[in-house]
Structure formats: C-alpha cells, structure tokens
Amino acid sequence: MSEYFIGKPSSFSIKILHEKIYELLSMNKRLDERDALSFREIDIKTNIIEKTDGSAIVSLGKTKVIAGIKHEIEKPFSDRPNEGIFVVNAELLPLASKSFEPGPPDERSVELARVVDRCIREAKAIDLQKLCLIEGESVYSLFIDLYILDYDGNYFDPSVLAAVAALSVTNVPIYKVENGKIIKTEERMKIPMKDFPVSVTLGIIKDKILVDPTLLEEDSLDAILTIGFDSNSNLVAIQKSNLGIIPENLIEKIIFIAKEKADFLRKKLMESISNG
C-alpha cells in the first residue's frame, strides 16, 4: 500500500502501521496473517518463452519475476581463458510498481543484478569450464536477464530462484571446432550445472525477525538482509540493502533462520525443475 501514496518508499513511514506490524510480530503474526518466518506462496514455471535458450517465471506472493537466458559466442576474459562467461542484468519494470521509474537501470536494479550474480558465481553454479570452445578465443557467453513484472516486496529471492531455474532448463546449440573455426551443429546440450544456490531475505524490526517482507513491511523495517546459500549451506552472498541497523546479538540467530529457510526454498526449486 505504501506505493498507493505519492511519497516514495522510505520518505516517510505510516506511524500506526509501523506500530501495528511490531504489535503483530510479538504474536508471531503479520499483516497478511502469515507467521514471522513463513514465505508467501511460491510458484515456479519454466520454459515459458520459446525464443530464449531458457526461461522461468517465479511468483512469491504478489511479486513476480521473469528470467530469460540467451547465449552468444564471445572472447573469454584474459585472466580466465578457458572459462565460459555469464552476465546478469535486472530491470525493475515500471509495470511492477508506482515506485519504479522508467529509464536506465537505477541503483536498485544494478544492486539486484550484482547480488544474483554473486549467488551464482560464488556457488559455482554453472560449470564454466565446460563452456569453453577454443581456449583464449571462443567461449559460450550467457546473458541472464531478469525483469520484475509485479512488485510487492522482496525481489531478491524470486530473482535468484528465477535465474537458477531458468539456467537449469537452458539448452544451447553444440558448436564443433574444425580447423580452428567454430561451426554450429543441429544438436543442443544442457548448461552443465554444479550447484543450485538460493537466497533468503529477512527483515528486522527492533528485536524481531521476519522472513520475506512484503512492500508494506519494507517501509517499517529497521533493516533488510539478503543471504545467499549454496547446496552445502555455505554463505555465498550477503547484502544489507537498506539504511538501518542490525543488532549484533541477532546475527547468529538470523543466519540460523536463513539456512533453514534456504533448505525449504531449494526443495521447492528442485521440485519445479524436475517437473518443468
């Protein structure tokens, strides 16, 4: 509802709403009657855009993110001559919220893209060495493009889910190397995946922790923290994405809660990949 008002998010918070959110949390309840540590309903669909090499659309409550992947053949980075490349871009579409202005990617889109990138890169989700064609000359380059279509808080977690789900179903043409030249064949291969990272976004208000904040809750939170985990529960990304404080004595509890929730999300992710 905060987007119902002219004032941009965070320019003011509605006092009685802030108080109500805290009051409810003391009873382990939230505005949408969830308990403090529950995610909203999650829906993951893959292969919804035929013209891409891979795609997925994820709904987390009313937040909707679409991921599309396309490939090209490019020169690798000079310090990693035998590795494929991937680039993550994100756009907060003006369709999704009154608070997303049309225009070039703003700091929030850039932050989102970089956090998703770190989750995938640090978890070594893609086996980049299997995407090399000619060392130092030609490798697969994957463009992972994320679009937020509908925004009701927490675009991080569904974006990571959409990116990883899309990658898991992506297939690219197989290129042959003949006499130093790259030739496209009619066959296709799946992107080799080594891990399936997920992220969990939590909100903190005074001494209370909640998982998966909605848009309304975001304006009342003291801090928002996104944590990425790989399949072995290693931390692969952390981002505190708003102004505000995290009490030091809550950190351990936050990480513990996040890990449990990450396992839950990964289960949902793997289910949808095997079904889709």
């Binding site: 855009i49 013209k51 396309k70 369709l95 999704a96 049309p102 463009f143 509908d150 009701d152 848009l215």
Partner: protein, 244 residues
C-alpha cells in the same frame, strides 16, 4: 529485408504457418493479471506475448508538465532483451521511442482526458516475446488495461497489422512474414467512433492494395474487438451468476 528465396505463400494459398490470407493467429487475452497496478492485461497473439499495466490518474510530476484542463498520458512500449531472436541491448531504442509515441496518440483519442485535469496516466507495455504485430497487440493490451483500471474511455481501441507478402494482401503478419514480406501496415480502430487511431506503413503498396488492406484490417479488428469485450465481461461474470 531481402527475400532469401523463402516461399511465404504456397500454391494452395496457405501461409508459412498454414493460415489463409484473412486468418488471425490464435489469440489469448486476460485482464487483471498484475496485482500492483491500477489496471493490467496480458495478450498472446501467435507467439507474441505482451503485458500491459496502467497507473493513474494521479498527480503529475514534475508539476510543470501537467495540463490545466486535461490528463497527460505517458506511454512506454518496451521489449525485454530476450524477446527477440538476437538479444536486444538494454535501454530504449529509437524504434521503441517511436512506437511509444504512436501508441500514445491512439490512446489519447480514446480516453476522456478532460475528466482528469492536471493528472497523469501511465501506460506501460512490455513485450516478453516478439513474433510480429507487437505494437498493435501492445495497444490492445493497453486498451484492456485502461478499461480494467476504470479510466473513462469513449471506446476500446483495437489494432491489428496487415501487409503484403508474396504479392498478396494478408492479415496479422508473423515475424518471418514481416521480415521478408513487401509491406507491413499496423492499424488501430475505434469501432464506435468508426475512426482510425493508429496508422503506419513500412514498405510499398499501390493505392488499390492499400484500400484492400484497410478493408481486411477492419475485418480482423472487429474479430479482435469481440474477443476484447468477451475478456472484459468474463472477469466479472460471477456477478451475473449470483442472480437470485
């Protein structure tokens, strides 16, 4: 684009996807598909997939852009980078800027702008997958989204594209026909006003061909108009079913 010897219409008069000259691709339409906008719609026409969302009427910022006696429509037609065969760069291309303008003009005629002085109405069209006819399908989605938002309108705006392919005038070009055909003419009508609200030509047509194309376009648009009306009524059909 030069025709690389692809036969777009065969001896039986069937097009590359099996359609006859006056057949529309399968169309799917839905309203209220996005939660956070004031009105929204989703349109699929063949492989073309488009979302549209409307915000407003609302106070216009910056203030100096507001008009004292009517609302201002801000329209953005945009394509996702993965919507086209060859990945599109981020940001607005010149084509998207031009299409945003002509779509806006069509909507400005249909909406009662005078009802909301000093206000702004935002219309956002996002192409998720492009396979020809995106500006008219986008306009149809925008029209549905405006109606869904309860914005006062004179009529629904309905558009479709006609063109010339292998010498024949055909309805609703798909991407290949657009690329390798001789002409592509997107048109939008307001059936109630019996007027044309959007008209562009890419390619070459004789005057007779043009007249034939307009007639064919009108037929196609009327079919789509019926579908749009059905889509809007369907959303609220539960109200009718509750009769006691």
């Amino acid at each position: 684009m030069e025709n690389k010897g692809i036969k777009l219409i065969n001896e039986d008069g069937k097009r590359i996807d099996g359609r006859l000259y006056n057949e529309l691709r399968p169309i799917k339409m839905e309203v209220g598909v996005l939660e956070k906008s004031d009105g929204s719609a989703y349109v699929e026409q063949g492989k073309t997939k488009i979302f549209a969302a409307v915000f407003g009427p609302k106070e216009l910022h910056p203030r100096h852009l507001a008009l004292p006696d009517r609302a201002v429509i801000n329209c953005r037609y945009h394509m996702a980078s993965f919507s086209v065969e060859e990945r599109k760069q981020l940001g607005m291309t010149r084509r998207e800027i031009e299409l945003s303008k002509v779509i806006r003009h069509a909507l400005e005629t249909a909406v009662f702008l005078e009802k909301f002085p000093r206000a702004g109405i935002d219309v956002f069209i996002e192409v998720i997958q492009a396979d020809g006819g995106t500006r008219v399908a986008g306009l149809n989605a925008a029209s549905l989204a405006l109606a869904d938002a309860g914005i006062y309108m004179r009529d629904l705006v309905v558009g479709c594209a006609v063109g010339k392919v292998d010498g024949r005038i055909v309805l609703d070009l798909c991407d290949i026909e657009d690329k390798y055909g001789e002409a592509d003419m997107p048109i939008a009508f307001s059936p109630r006003l019996n007027s044309i609200l959007l008209l562009q030509l890419n390619g070459k047509l004789s005057i007779e061909e043009f007249n034939e194309a307009i007639k064919l376009a009108k037929e196609g648009c009327m079919k789509i108009y019926e579908l749009m009306k059905e889509t809007l009524k369907k959303k609220y059909s539960y109200i009718i079913m509750e009769e006691e």
